[in-house]
Symmetry: C2
Subunit: 233 residues, 2 copies
Amino acid sequence: MTPDQPASAVTPLVTRMTLAQQIREALVVRIVSGEIQPGERLVETRLAAMYGTSQAPVREALRELEAMRMVETRPRRGTFVRHFVQQTLRESYVVRAALEETATRLAMLAGTVPLDALRREVKAMRAAARTDDAVAAARASVAFHRHIVDAARNELLKLSWEALQIEARTSVTMVAAEVKLKDIARDHAELLKSIEDGDLETACKHARDHQWHYADLPHDAHGRARRTSRQVS
Amino acid sequence: MTPDQPASAVTPLVTRMTLAQQIREALVVRIVSGEIQPGERLVETRLAAMYGTSQAPVREALRELEAMRMVETRPRRGTFVRHFVQQTLRESYVVRAALEETATRLAMLAGTVPLDALRREVKAMRAAARTDDAVAAARASVAFHRHIVDAARNELLKLSWEALQIEARTSVTMVAAEVKLKDIARDHAELLKSIEDGDLETACKHARDHQWHYADLPHDAHGRARRTSRQVS
DNA sequence: GTGTAACCGATTATCGATAGTCGGTGGAGG
DNA sequence: CCTCCACCGACTATCGATAATCGGTTACAC
């Protein structure tokens, strides 16, 4: 019975995103998909024309991408897509390891580990391995780790972790490193087991090694394999 | 607060910074100094008038502050200074612990720990303790940890760590006000010692506990005592 | 009184236009 | 041939104006 809602027929409640946010999303997709190459320059006016907006929202979107470290801006120079090559990838695994080890510790100490959810994700990984569905496996893996990070109940930790753009990177790695999906499921199952066992230090170390392991995998086409000096403890 | 009245007549010379950056700096100072209270709203147009610019640079500055987590922006609502209270402070220590433990591990594995520099900072802390100079002690402490993070040679780790600094910096000072400066020097000296000794796991654990210790200290005026559930040691 | 819808003032999001800066270019000087 | 420098075209940083929204408030029918 409320006939009004002035003339503008539809403003779908869901589309409450600002233009800047929409543009950011679009650019993220184009960058991770490789449509826009690393090193390429993003010209504000050109993008504005392309998306049919003015320069302002584009500029804001670029700023957000910069905060995500997907692009680099030199004042008065322009903004460029970063080469986040294997180096960065490797680095990100080490940082993830640090954060996830701590998340594991916090969650176990607080007794908030969502074991059921974790078991569910492992199950999903096994299913993905059977159907050879890398995307599904990646999604389950990210979900697994996110559950742990959430369980730590530390907002700042969560933010830092999310800032690493986990999803974008894992899928890239899995493809690039050609990890056997079955191994992924197995690794996570082992990690889960040590958490279930309740041995804090062992589980934490396991959480850390889990990521350091990936940092050691060959990420690039040149396939330099190295698993050496690291042997932690 | 101070109405119209361009904050500074001109910032004439070697202004290699963009207006947005200058505004950001100014706002950071006003926020950490408490001139702008937590929860307070930052009105773009008002700030623009105050600094004698248009809305655009102000907007950009606010975005950057948001990335730093000093303010919070609700689309179409406005941006507000965050109450980064003890909760966040405590959280930041835990995240720092995670990153610094890993930094210690990486630096020791790579053999890049700048022992001399670390010794120098400890010495500075002792001097600060003697003259009861909390600011100097805080500065030396930050420098000490930064040396380690730098030595890890992991750009992403460094970035994540620096991102914490805004909050951490203020908190260090606050805590320093309550912690005996001599204890700070002693704690760092002990950490340094375990690094010099070369025992990787002990040093890492020490690095972690070093920060968790601060997380447990009472940070607020209400002096809520620490949680005891942490049998991490 | 109570709940609802249109109205209002304040403020953000976006636009279109302009000023200034940056890197590159081609000719003059050596 | 190589270097230096004023000039040019392309873009970013910034401006001033406008469109759209939001929260609160008021008028009005029950």
